[in-house]
């Protein structure tokens, strides 16, 4: 019997082929921030789980959550959240079929970046 030939199909977003552009990089960062938010989510799930148990175990988890290393992770996750939030709204806007021309795409990209920093600052002050 003949073995079926295996084709090396190209993987879809040709990251190594296309020249990175400002707008495409902001889109790639949506994916990076979204997936990186898993770490913060699991930390929060862990902390809530500890809060549902006894207080001695909670103190151990709380100490880890309050260490400077985890605090840096959570602060970066805050920025990642706002970036992903705004980029997600941009995707919902694109889903209506609008905002695809170059000027709008560029302004939206600037808005996402600037907005993410502003919202991170606002929340960091508020919390």
């Amino acid at each position: 019997m003949k073995e079926p030939t295996k084709h090396k199909r190209p993987l879809s977003p040709h990251l190594s082929i296309y020249r990175p552009e400002f707008t495409s990089v902001t889109s790639i960062f949506t994916r990076i921030t979204g997936n990186a938010l898993l770490i913060a989510s699991l930390l929060i799930v862990w902390w809530i789980f500890a809060a549902s148990g006894n207080s001695e175990n909670f103190e151990v988890v709380n100490k880890i959550l309050n260490s400077w290393f985890v605090k840096i992770i959570l602060f970066l996750s805050l920025w990642a959240f706002w970036y992903h939030f705004l980029a997600g709204l941009r995707h919902l806007y694109w889903d209506t079929g609008r905002g695809f021309d170059l000027i709008h795409a560029k302004y939206l990209a600037y808005g996402v970046i600037a907005g993410s920093f502003v919202l991170t600052l606002l929340t960091a002050i508020n919390l």
Binding site: R9, P13, N35, L38, S41, F49, S52, G53, H91, L127
Partner: protein, 123 residues
């Protein structure tokens, strides 16, 4: 597009169908998260890292618990669909299946753990 799919809760539980299903799931979860997640940040963010008593007082209030459960569980579902697209874009073959299984394990166990902890605090 089949608009019935948007209100049909079955899309969350059925096995992978076609591409539009995945996209609709992403839209549903993202719209819910766009409303709920900022509320979560501004309320839960103040409690995260505080004392045992404060955490329990905060989480035993039904409105807070609902916001936490919605954000965490729907957030993890949203992640699960997103990471599936990521894995399918860059990985092929059995590595893809292994990674998808790991993603499923992490997401669904975290959802169950979160629900159990909220119920334990509430009662």
């Amino acid at each position: 597009m089949n608009y019935f799919k948007i209100i049909n809760p079955r899309v969350f539980f059925q096995k992978s169908g076609n591409g539009t299903d995945k996209h609709i799931r992403m839209i549903i979860t993202s719209v819910i998260l766009a409303i709920v997640a900022p509320i979560f940040i501004f309320t839960f963010g103040k409690v995260l890292g505080s004392s045992y008593e404060d955490a329990n007082i905060f989480l035993s209030k039904p409105t807070n618990a609902i916001i936490v459960v919605l954000t965490v569980c729907i957030g993890l579902l949203h992640f699960r669909y997103g990471v599936q697209t990521l894995i399918e874009d860059y990985v092929r073959g059995s590595t893809k299946k292994i990674l998808l299984t790991i993603a499923n394990l992490i997401c669904y166990s975290a959802i169950v753990i979160n629900l159990i902890s909220i119920i334990r605090i509430y009662f």
